[in-house]
Every structure is written in C-alpha cells, then in structure tokens.
C-alpha cells in the first residue's frame, strides 16, 4: 500500500510541474482567496504548478520574466472541490455481498469520459469519485486532480495521510435489498458493526505478530482498508439522509473511532446540533425538489444554513449524475438563497471540501505554496448569469471557454458527451 502511494506521489509530482519554469502572473481580477478577505485588484503568481504569490496589486512584486495574463474584470477563486461524484463511470462492489471494502473504483474509471471535461467546465479541479450507495460498504473511493491526462495514475491526488481515497459506506434505504443484503435498518448497523469488530481483531493480530511473519494472519485486502479506517488514515464517506440514519452513523463512528464525512444529509437541519457536537463534517447535495425516495423527503435547501448556525462544518457536492458537475456553483447559490452566508458558501465549495479529503494543506484556497488550481469567472460566483471562463490545474489551463471544444463541454451539444478519442493533454503554454 505504502509503496503504491509513494509511486503515485512521485509520478504526480513529475507530471504536474513540467515545463513551468517561467512564472505566470494573473493581473487585475477580483480575488477570492477563501483563506482571507477578498482582494479587489489582485495579483496571482504561479510557477511550477504552485502558487508563489498572491495579494493586492500594490503589494505583490511581479517577476520581470513573468508571462502576464490580464484578467481584469473577472473573478478569480480556487478551483472547486467536489467531495462526491461519479464522473468517469466508477464501478464499485457487485451484488455478491453488502460489504466489499477490498473493491477499488480506481480499477474501473474511464478517464476519457467526457464528464471529466464537463467537470472542468464547471470549475471543478479536485474530485472524490465514489462507488454507489447500494451497499453498506461499496468500496474505496479515489481522489482525483482533473489534470488533462489519459491514465488514472496521472490523475491521482495523494493526501496528507498518504492515501488517494476514502471508503464509501451507506445506510438508509438504498442498501436494503434481498439477501445477502440487509432487510432492515437494525440489520444494516449489525452487519457494519460485525465487520468493524473483525477489522479490530485483524489489526490486533497483526500488531501482536510484530516482526514474526509466521504469527501474522493471512492478508485480507478488505480488512486492510478497514484498518486504515480504524487508524484514522482513511476517511469514511457515508451516504445518509434521514435524521435517525444520521445518528446511527455518528454512533458507529464513535463506537469504532473512525473519521467520517456525512454525505447528502437531507435531514441535516433536524440533527444539526448532534452533528456539530460530534464534530463530524457534512457534504451536502442540493436538488430541485424533495422526495424521489423515502429517505429524501426531508430535503431542505436550508440544511447548510442550519448546520452553520449549529457550528457545523459543511461542503457541497454534485453526486454527478444526480446533479451535473457544471452546477456545483448553483448548489452553493441555492444554499445562500436559503440563508447561508456567502463566505461559508464559498468555503463550502473549496477549502472545507478539501479538508474533508485531508487535502486542505494542498488545495482549496489561494495561498502561497498551494497547488495553482483556480477558476476565472465572468462575475459573481452565485449569479445564474456568471460563466466559468477558464479553469487552471497546477498552472495549466484545462478549460478555456474561448476554445470551441471546451465551449461545447460547457454548453452541451452534439458530441459533448462522447469519450475523448485521444490524448487530451493540451501542451501549449497559455498565450494569454
């Protein structure tokens, strides 16, 4: 596991910063750094895929050799973090069992899927691609940086714990099915509890064996992933909607000491106090109407504001294809409509989500040393009429509305959903 991660880090490092010795300066935008107050006339300087300076024009020194981009009139903010998505057509667990932690979506994703380009068109630069919610535990998720590359390894994004994914779990109605799946909520929790007890046992045996290879239990890939969860390294991303299901997740997380992000959380407003007290973050979906299934009848645009009032932490997600990746901004805007303050809404699109993936030190805000992932907008982030003009990942333009093919991804149209036929990497240095 560790070897694999290390290789990924080296690979990502080698590819992400190629040929960007010359600094690039973005001048004149209204900057929304997220980590600090808005800057009316700002400068962002990036080099080798990283942010090297950010601030008001009056205080940032622009290197003499910098490639200058005049972006006056636009709004510049960090690339969005989508904490829950299904772009690339991930396939997780199959119908053989309700709990399959050994399954990795990494082994199933089509990185040429046009939905990755559409996500870039929506301003998304970091994404947690998950298996579905039809299982109590449907497999390992994967954290991707939406670089223009053609293999899954080149998209992996390793976090502060040395992993590039979490673990997807679910309770409520989706995972209730014919045997061997659970038929009730009580049984759902019992199966999960049983599995975690097994993982505790496995972990204990490995610890006891120490360096004695003969005493070690046989390797179990599923339990290995659960041990990472028990050790607080791998985060559980938990589908849950109804208030009582939410509390069940909090109970299990406390019992086994695992770190969890609640996902969707239709009923968040009803149990906001309990969620906040447990210091468990929420990744919320915002859809156009309540219902569609029994556990989502409480869907409420005010959930985000209620969580905030209770002192909770929140991010937004698309759950693409439930919500198209091009409408992640809209989710936050609708939450603002229902009472969330603008700064929290901006954070919920970026830094808060990054932290939920243990990526908060690397992405999610405009700060020196962070990845040069950002979007240029034509106006206010919460306006219907605002367009994503450009999306940059690690100092490279991955979306530019001026390019006809990119415009097609932004608006849809003939061919916009077709997989990428060849190398989608754009090699030219930006001419802007």
């Amino acid at each position: 596991m560790k070897m694999r991660c290390l290789a990924a880090v080296l690979l990502a490092g080698a590819l992400g910063s190629h040929a960007q010795e010359r600094p690039q300066a973005f001048l004149g935008a209204r900057l929304l750094p997220i980590s600090g107050p808005e800057i009316a006339d700002g400068v962002l300087i990036v080099q080798r895929g990283k942010i090297v300076a950010v601030g008001p024009r009056s205080s940032v020194r622009i290197p003499a050799d910098a490639l200058r981009h005049d972006v006056t009139g636009s709004v510049l903010m960090p690339g969005l973090v989508d904490t829950h998505s299904h772009i690339g057509g991930p396939e997780g667990a199959d119908s053989s069992a309700p709990i399959q932690p050994e399954v990795r979506v990494l082994d199933s994703i089509d990185v040429r899927d046009a939905r990755l380009q559409k996500a870039q068109a929506g301003g998304i630069t970091t994404v947690n691609v998950m298996p579905g919610s039809g299982h109590l535990l449907s497999g390992q998720t994967v954290y991707l940086k939406l670089r223009d590359r053609t293999t899954i390894e080149e998209l992996l994004l390793t976090n502060e714990k040395g992993l590039y994914g979490g673990l997807k779990m679910a309770n409520g109605t989706n995972s209730r099915r014919a045997a061997p799946f659970p038929g009730t909520r009580g049984k759902s929790a019992a199966l999960v509890r049983e599995q975690f007890v097994k993982a505790q046992e496995y972990r204990r045996k490995w610890a006891e064996a120490g360096d004695d290879a003969k005493k070690r239990p046989a390797r179990d890939l599923g339990l290995e992933a659960l041990v990472e969860v028990l050790e607080g390294r791998r985060i559980v991303h938990h589908h849950t909607h109804r208030h009582d299901d939410v509390l069940t997740v909090l109970r299990l997380a406390k019992e086994f000491g695992f770190r969890v992000v609640l996902h969707h959380v239709s009923d968040a407003a009803k149990v906001a106090k309990e969620i906040a007290a447990a210091r468990v973050p929420c990744s919320l979906i915002v859809v156009d109407s309540p219902g569609g299934k029994l556990e989502a009848t409480g869907m409420d645009w005010g959930a985000a504001a209620a969580l905030k009032r209770a002192g909770g932490t929140l991010a937004f997600h698309t759950d693409d294809g439930i919500v198209d990746s091009r409408f992640l901004f809209r989710a936050a805007a609708l939450a603002v409509r229902a009472g969330l303050d603008r700064q929290s809404a901006l954070e919920a699109l970026t830094l808060a989500g990054a932290r939920m993936l243990d990526l908060g030190t690397r992405v999610g805000s405009l700060e020196t040393g962070k990845d040069a992932d950002f979007v240029l907008l034509s106006g206010d982030p919460f306006s219907t009429y605002t367009r994503v003009l450009q999306t940059w990942v690690e100092g490279e333009p991955v979306f530019d509305r001026e390019r006809p093919q990119d415009r097609l991804y932004a608006t849809g149209g003939f061919g916009a959903s077709h997989d990428q036929p060849g190398d989608v990497h754009v090699d030219e240095e930006s001419e802007r």
Partner: protein, 408 residues
Amino acid sequence: MMRTTQMAALALLAALALPARAQVAVRGETVYTMNGAPLRDGIVLIGADGKIARVGAASDVAIPAGVPVLRAKVVTPGLIDAHSTVGLSGWLNQTQDQDQLETSAPIQPELRALDAYNAQDRLVAWVRGFGVTTLHTGHAPGAVVSGETLVVKTRGDTVDAAVVVPRAMVAATLGPAAKAADGKSPGTRAKVVALLRAELVKAQEFARKRANPSPEPGKEPEANLRSEALARVLAREVPLLVTVERAQDILTALRLAQEFGFKLVLDSAAEGYLVTDAIKRAGVPVIVHATMARQVGERENASFENASKLRMAGIPIALQSGFEAYVPKTRVVVLEAAIAAANGLTFEQALASITIDAARLLGLEARLGALAPGKDGDVALYDGDPFEFTSHCVGVVIDGQVVEREAR
C-alpha cells in the same frame, strides 16, 4: 380640447369596466406584463371574480380603499409549466404513487389524466412556491401512446377544483424510450412507428364510420374509447404531444404529422437544434426539455442552448420541467428558464417561455400567460430577478386568491 375629452371618455369607460369590488392588488417596482413593455412601479388589480381588472402604472391605477396590497420588487404573470408529470408521478416515488405510466400495452390513449391527477401531492405545492400557477401535466413519456394530459391550476384540493382543460393533449413517444421492456414488442424504432401508424389508421376508419353511419340498424360503429381518443387527434381537436430526442425521431414525428394531418407538438427534442429548418418548415411548436435535463442516453447531445437556437430559428417554444424518474422528483420550470436565460435566451424571451409563449402553445393565451384585463388573476412576486439563484419567490396569487406568502 378634443384630446382631453377623449381621455375623459376613456377614463370613464375604464371606471365603468371596474368590477364592483377588487379583492387584491399587486404592486411591483417592475411589472413584467408580457403584454407590452414592463411597467416601472406598476399595479395589477384583481377583481372579485378572480380576473384581472386593471394593469397600469401606479400613477394611473388607483387602489380602492380596503383592498389588500401585496408588494414586491418584481412581478410577473403566474408561471406556466408547459409539460410536467407532477400530480401523477408522486413525490415519494413509491409504487403506489406512480401513476404516470401504464406499461400493460404500448398504446393507451384512453387513459385520462383527469382520473389520475392528485391535486394534493406535495410537489404541486412545491412548484407553486416558486411562482408556478399552471401545469400542463399528465401521462409521461415511455410508451408509444401513454394517455392524455390535462391543464390544471396549482390550487384546489381536488382535480375538479384545479382543472383548466380536462383533456389537453394525447402523449406519445418515439425512439428507444417507447420500446417495451423484457424483449416485448415494440422492440425497435420502426416497430414503434408501425404500431402507432396502425392505430391511427384504425382511428381514421373509426371516425369515418362514425361520420357516415350505416343506414342499416345495428350496424353503427361500436364504441371504442381508444379510437375515440385518437379520433380527437385526427380531427385536430387536441394535439399529439410527441416526445422525441434524436434528430431522426424528430423527423419521423414530422413525417407522421404530415401523413395523418394531426396537430403536432414536439416535446423535449434534445437534438432539435440540428433540424431547425425542418421543424420551422412544418410550423410545429416545441416544448423544450428542462434545460438542466441530464445529458445522457438519448439526450447525450442535449444543449443548454437548444431553447435559444430553436427560438432564434423562429420556432415557437415553451420550457418545461419534464418527467423525472428519481431525484429530483420534479424540476422547477423557473429554474430551468433561468439556465436558458444564461445560455442565449434574453431575459424576456426566457420569461415568455414560461408565461405567454407557454399559454399560446397550450391554446390558453386568452386566459393565461400575461397580466392584462380580463385574464385570470394569476401573479407571481419576487424579491429580485426571478432567474437569479439567490432571489426568492415572495408571493403567489391564483385566480385572485393569495396562495403563498412565504419566501422561497
């Protein structure tokens, strides 16, 4: 002098036209009447009969004493969702509340939306909260002919209290969505069309016999609800609402309309922008798919700009929320128009697509879709641009009754 006399006469006429009593007045900083230029500081006065009595600038329209006044930044006609399945596809999405599609046979025009509409489904009130006052709803796409549609207001506890047009259109589908499941017939595009053509021929025959009954007693054509429903389509009493996505299926719908002479309304038409010339030539209107409809499957080539491209080609359009099988169980047509307004339609074109243009498409422009004297007192109030994500609908009036006052 002459001019003054005329004006006085006009004022007198206007005063005479006032109903005995006004029941509610709506005053907006901007009033989009959809009947001429927007009014700055305008007033809509609704009479005791639930009809609009007067519309004009505040300087010209006096509000009678004692009449309650609702105020808002922006006022529009009550919105019309030109195609929905709300009231049939219930919000819980459980077997017992899904009445939008019967799959026992591919062609069942005899299914009446009137017999299925649940006026108390939670989603009716949900969309009303955003300013939607009229729904064209009914049987969903998914069978060759799935049944009839109806037009309702979003108020009233029963279908009878809500209904505007009990039998509005007959809903048909072409293309893969009309194929039957489990290897049953129809199983191909061409078979879908062959079945529909055969049933239309049967209805032609039925109508011919009915029009020319045999003089011999006992030889009158037997009652046949299926053919009767399609005969109404063939007689151009109601349109055939044909849901299609691909360009090839759009052209097939046009071919059938020409062959049988029915009034065609194209529904959804994701690839409509590819065949605007043919649609324009046929003089057929389009109820365009929800702008945010998922761009997958038959709709993989859908575009946020479809509505604007059709409109620019001179094709009459309206927007819809459409049918949703899962989450969200319904879309909200004003949010769909918003995305169209951000993708090529002007503000007023987008607003027209959910007010006056939708009314025209449904043949209801005499009653709905604009703020003008004599029309239904259906009004929506907003605290800003209704298309902004962060604006709220702050009031809804239907037939002069204030049905919503909470901001949403």
